[in-house]
Structures are given as C-alpha cells and as structure tokens.
C-alpha cells in the first residue's frame, strides 16, 4: 500500500517536471517549426518549406553578421582570458605593492552596471575613433569581463600549492616560465569556465553592439536581429530562422560545457 502510494507520488513528480520541460522547451520548438514555413504558410498555420531560410540568407547580411559576432566575441574572450589569468596568478601567488588594493578595486568592478558607465564610455570610444571598428566593442567587452574573470582565476590559483611555484623557482625557472609551464596547464578547468560564461554573455549581448557597431555590415548577429525585430518590418518566419541561426553557437557551447557553466554560476556564491 505504502509502496503503491510512493510510486504514484513519483509519477506525479514526473508529470509536474514534464510540464515544466514543455514550458521551457516550447519556445525552441516554436522557433524551429515557424522557421520552416513561408509567410503564407505561417499565416495559414500549415505546410512547410525552406522559403524563410532561403530568404534569410538572400536578403539579410546574416553570414557577415555571424562572422562579425565570431570576431568580436572571440577576440573579447581571448583578451579576457589573457588579462584575467595573468592577473589571477599575480594576485594569488606574487607579492607586490598595492596588490590587495588593486584586487579589491577590480572586484568592485563587478558591482558596476553597464548602463551606469555606458554614456562616457560611448563618448570616449567615439573620441578615439573606434565607433564601427571591431576594437571598440572588443575593448569594452573585455573590460566588463575582467572583474569576474580575475576573481575566478585568483580563487582558482589560490588553491594551487605555493610549493609548486617555490620548487620551480629553485629549479631556476622565471615567473613567466612558471606561469606558462606550471600555472596555465593546471588552470585549464577554470579557464574553460571563464571562456564559456563570457562567450555566452558576449555572443548574446545587445547594448554594447548596438551603440558601438551601428552600421549593418559591422553589426553582430544579435544586434542585427534586435534592430530588425524592433522595426517590426520583417516576416515572422524569417526572424525565427535568424534567431535559430544566432543561437546555434551558444547552444553548441552549452551542450559541450554545461558542467563548466554550472560551476561558474555557483562560483559566484563566494564560498
């Protein structure tokens, strides 16, 4: 009797969780289904075709915009990884003047909302002549990623035994050699976590791209989609096809690196 009740209970739990899955995955199914309809088929609610996908590639610079996204996101992530692993190593393992102050200062950067700095940032970048140039948004994204990246890398490097550094020093290795030969290989899990989190965030960002890349041919795919959508001039099935195209890289990264993504998220709890 008790066992039957328990079974029923687990069945009920399964049912509730399934409903939640439908709610969470429905938008993806809707996007996919709609993208394989022409506008007329979309209005009629039946039939399938490749018209909207064809139209997407024929009428909109989506290939160029995917390339733009890859350049901007890839360079920003590379810059974040470089600056935050070097800084993390220095803060965790080296003693130098004003280190604690710098560390706290950089961490405080995590509490600055983008919108609070965006106006002077825009004017500064414009004065530097970097509007509609890739380096403009790349530098801004990199700076925004530095506080979290440095925090995560420092925390990680602190867990590496200092004896490792000292032993290599005794062997005559320089600090640079220790960094490249010992610390970076050890930190691969943390580096992947930072890379995945930043990739997803920068790939999907709108505000920075919208302001710093305002010509259609240099826009990222996310900005391209958002501007089309807000102008309400684009057929629904075509924008769904564009949405799917834009989210593919992030979903692929997600499927491969789900664990690191979760690790990065819970790292923020500062245990």
């Amino acid at each position: 009797m008790a066992r039957a009740g328990r079974r029923l209970q687990r069945l009920a739990i399964f049912a509730i969780l399934s409903v939640a899955v439908v709610v969470m995955l429905f938008p993806f199914a809707y996007m996919l289904l709609t993208s394989f309809r022409s506008y007329d088929q979309f209005l009629a609610g039946s039939g399938f075709s490749l018209d909207s996908w064809q139209g997407l590639f024929d009428e909109l610079p989506v290939v160029q915009q995917m390339i733009n996204s890859a350049i901007v996101t890839g360079s920003s992530v590379a810059l974040i990884l470089f600056a935050s692993t070097t800084a993390g190593y220095a803060f965790a393992k080296l003693r130098f003047p004003v280190a604690p102050l710098l560390f706290v200062g950089i961490l405080a950067g995590m509490m600055i909302p983008v919108q609070s700095i965006i106006i002077p940032e825009f004017v500064n970048i414009a004065n530097a002549g970097l509007i509609n140039q890739y380096p403009g948004p790349i530098l801004v994204y990199a700076a925004l990623g530095i506080p979290f990246g440095t925090y995560l890398m420092t925390t990680y490097f602190r867990g590496v035994p200092t004896e490792l550094v000292e032993a290599s020093l005794m062997d005559g290795a320089s600090y640079r050699q220790i960094f490249i030969g010992v610390m970076v290989p050890l930190a691969v899990p943390a580096i992947v976590t930072v890379a995945v989190l930043q990739f997803i965030q920068i790939w999907g960002d709108l505000l920075i791209g919208l302001l710093f890349l305002n010509q259609p041919d240099v826009r990222t795919i996310t900005v391209g989609l958002a501007t089309l959508q807000s102008a309400r001039i684009i057929p629904v099935p075509m924008i769904m096809a564009g949405s799917i195209l834009s989210l593919l890289p992030a979903v692929i990264v997600y499927l491969f690196f789900q664990r690191q993504l979760i690790a990065g998220l819970t790292m923020g709890m500062g245990k």
Partner: protein, 311 residues
Amino acid sequence: MRDAAAFEPAVAEVQPVPPRRSTGGLRRSERRAGVLFVIPAVLLYALLLALPIIQTFYYSLTRWNGIDATFIGLANYERLFSDPTFWRVVANNVILLAAIPIAILIPLAVAFLLNEHVSGWRFFRSAYFLPTAISWVVIGIVAVRFFAQRGILNSLLAALGIPVTTDMLASEWTAMVAVAITFIWSVFGTNTIIFITGMATLDRDVYEAARVDGAGGFATFRHITIPLLMRFIQFAFVLTLITGFTALFSLIFVMTTGGPGFGTTTLEFYVYQTAFAQGEFGYAAAVGVVLFVIVFGISLIQLRLLRDRSE
C-alpha cells in the same frame, strides 16, 4: 627528467648564499613580475570601467550633449526627482521586484521535486538550464510572438475554450506584466540550478529522519529544505534582483522598446533613452548614478550578509 638533474648542483650552490640577500633579490623580481602580470587587467579596468564611472558622476552634474558640458550642480537631480516620468520608471522596477518572489519560489519547488531523482531528472535539469545559454534578444523575439494579439497565448486560450482575447503588449500595465513573466521564465533555469546545487549539499539523513517522523513532502520542504537552503535562496535572490535591475535592456528593447508610453521603461532603459534618443547626456548620467547607487548598495548588503555568516 634530465633538466631536473642538471639543476641539482645549482640548488646546492645557492644554499650557502646568505638567506637575506637571496630573498631580497627574489622579492625584487617577484615584485616586478607581479606588477607586470597585473598590467593588462589593470589598464583595461582603469580606462574602461573606473574612468567612465567617475565621468558618469561628474557629468551628472552638468548639462552635456556629448561634446560641450556646462556645470550646473545638482540641477539634474532636482529635475529627476520631481519628474513624474522618473517615478513611473521606478514603479516599473518595483513591478519587477514584485516578480522576484515568484522567480524564486517556482524554481525552489521544482528543484525540490527534481531532487527526488525520478527517471529522466538529468534531462529535465538540462532542459531547464538551456535558456541560460540563449540571448535575451531571442527570448524577447519569441515572447513578442507569445503575447501578440494574434499570438500563441491567444491560440492557447482559444484551444482551451476560454473566450478571452488578450493583447498584453498594447497597454502600459499589462505590457509590464508581460515583461515580468518573460523575466521569470528566463531566470527559472539559473535559479533551479542554484537550488539543486544547494540541495546536493544537504544531508540525506535529515530527510530520512523527517520521513521516519512522519513529515509529509510539503512539511519537509517548508521546515527542512527552505531553512537549510537559506544561503542559496539569498544568493539567488540577489542575483535575480541585480538581473532585474541591469540585464533586461535587450528584452525590453525587443519586446516593447520601453512602451507603450513609458509603460515598460525601467531605470536601465531610461538611461539609454534619455541619452541616445533624446541626447540629454548629463541628465541620463544622473539616472545612471541612481542605478549605480541601487546596484552597488544591493551588492554591499550581499557582501555584508556573506561576511556575517562566515564569522
């Protein structure tokens, strides 16, 4: 291996050197290395985060069009606090605040059920977390289709035989509710994962003891899970709060562009509108300062709570 052997005599030779001189030289090269290694991060941080936040504070005291700035003291703030539009915008943020308990409780309940590990729970977990990888822009694009007059919601209502036609994005308050619902949907996966992680840290024996004592599912949830998860609930709360204040720009841009009227303009969106649509950079900087103070304040409270707990 051969390298290590070659270094052995060198180590032996170093030893007779007086320790103080040795550490002195080491300290100097360590200092130099430390400074060199932080330079890239510090430069990016100083020029592109620290400098602009200081500029925001300064320009909030000016009338500024992006080129010429005239110092006007606190006039922007006086104007801001007596501007009904500003308070309308703040009210929209308050609606988002009201959504947070829902954005916490649903994931908490689902995580509790997920923690029973019924068959397929790993798949469920992955499915819930997937939207975390998706841009707010794409989420917004689908949300527009969901809430539109000829959209999914109305089709659903019709299919269920409910004779109601909604057009939530067309009027101010309902549009804000639509944004809030989308916000709850978007943070569901993140919060569920936080709670699942938390529950994994709990001792299974506590549940067994509760079951032996005859506590039902809900009683266990209410009196054991929630109190023990307080640290995680608080973390999810602050994260959701900060997301609500600072991460909804794209969603609002795509769903409503802040309208109808100022119906869905939140503080962060108001900064953008005031600066880049109306060209009032100084006034917008004042809004940016208000946003900064709120978010910084929330973060400081969070730090304080974390410290209190660890003491």
